[in-house]
Subunit: 283 residues, 2 copies
């Protein structure tokens, strides 16, 4: 998915928000904003929004010397998600373990996105969100593909979201599951450390994609990841960033599981902002 | 009031929105955004947000050749305001003509602001907004000053808002009222043409300030305006833009009448976004 002009002011806002997470120094904030503007000016040289996002957030890291500006937010989100974990498990116990429900739980985890919502203190609304249906749900295709599947690759998105994904994986333990995360800190996306904090390593093989963009760029991924990516019977891609980079270049079947959180993605998918999506694509 | 860093991404968003109002051509929109970025990069050379606003919106005019990009929006807002006019008059008739109520009506007119809300199709909510009190209301000082006043100057803001201001002026016809507007089109602010469309010339002397910034810059105003400004017994300044430029440099008593529409102004005034303000200042 090509970057839209609307992404440009949004990234500038993100640069400012990120600078404030790391420093209270207004001069340093101003410097970050200035350098972000210089990067953003070249917006038409980026192929996708996540690539520009990485460049913009890279400035914050470079100018502050803080390699993981969202570390505290990620830890808070992981803690919040762990707090919800028993509720989610109990919910499945009460309502039956239908795959639609469990996919929905994994999609709700996608709310823990600091780039868009800043710090979430209450996914809240858990009940309300659980009651919402999917606006797009290719679950028949999913059930069909699931019948003969032996291996599943999940391409992760945000740190706190990994706990919600654990609930999904725990329903699919008969599969050989690999969970792939960013190779380094970027916004509040999950890294290996975050995935281990979420205890994903107890139910899946956790690996790095080799890429630290907030949307997967296949040409930057490691050979190890690409082999798993090509050979997995099923691939679930989580979140907007991965959708933006993979929706037209995946080179294989993918199930995209996300919440449409910005008007651009929502328009592209022909849904409303806030809608949940489980979309099959074979590009 | 000094410009805040938050204004920077906000103006970039406004540049994009304004470009889309004037043209469907994505190449021209991209060109506007690029030139806006070049202007915005020098953000710390502007003394106030309205000055940068004028520069950013000036790019849209320059690159499209359209001198009044918000013309249609202003006309729609004026039409909408005229549609509400009888309701407002009837409301006053029913509720009594208390000055608080009529100040409130003038403040509600401040909702017709395309820079923040894009096109308003329904001030709607008229009843709900009328029921909301002022978060800051220096009405005692107003009543005190009003006792001995003979002349009133209103510094206007948005085009559609002028109709709401007419309701205020009609309650103060015993005063010699001057209504001052921008010297040329800027965003959806009122110009002489707009004020005449709102029939303000029937109840007030309508003049240009001599300045076409979306917040009054005294050093750019005409001698005619400055004389009236200095000599008026009462001055009401409408809207955020005028508050931003005048709140610290007015050089006289002013009553500021506005809705706090952005988080920066709201924080500065120590109120919530959406609150109504009638604030006396003597700087």
């Amino acid at each position: 998915m090509k970057m839209q002009l609307d992404c440009v002011p949004c990234f500038l806002r993100q640069a400012l928000e990120a600078s404030r997470i790391v420093t209270d120094n207004p001069e340093l904030q101003t410097k970050i904003l200035k350098e972000a503007l210089a990067v953003i000016e070249r917006f038409d040289s980026y192929k996708s929004a996540p690539e520009m996002g990485r460049a913009v957030h890279g400035i914050v890291k470079k100018l502050t010397g803080v390699t993981d500006p969202y570390r505290q937010i990620k830890q808070n989100n992981l803690k919040l998600a762990e707090h919800y974990y028993p509720t989610l498990k109990h919910y499945l116990f009460r309502r039956g373990s239908g795959l639609d429900l469990v996919l929905k739980i994994a999609a709700i985890g996608n709310n823990l996105d600091a780039a868009i919502y800043q710090e979430v203190t209450d996914v809240g609304l858990l009940d309300r969100e659980l009651d919402k249906g999917f606006a797009i749900c290719d679950h028949k295709r999913w059930e069909e593909r699931l019948k003969n599947a032996k291996t599943l690759l999940i391409i992760g998105d945000n740190a706190g979201e990994t706990v919600f994904d654990r609930v999904l994986i725990e329903q699919l333990l008969y599969l050989d599951v690999t969970y792939a995360v960013r190779s380094g800190p970027i916004i509040n996306d999950a890294t290996l450390d975050d995935a281990v904090s979420a205890r994903l390593d107890r139910c899946a093989r956790v690996i790095s994609t080799g890429c630290d963009s907030p949307g997967l760029l296949l040409n930057e991924c490691s050979a190890e990841f690409l082999e798993i990516y090509q050979q997995a019977d099923l691939v679930i891609s989580k979140g907007q960033g991965n959708y933006e980079t993979l929706s037209e270049t995946a080179g294989r079947e993918i199930f995209f599981l996300l919440k449409a959180k910005c008007p651009i993605i929502a328009k592209y998918l022909n849904v409303a902002v806030g809608d949940y999506i489980f979309k099959f694509l074979n590009q």
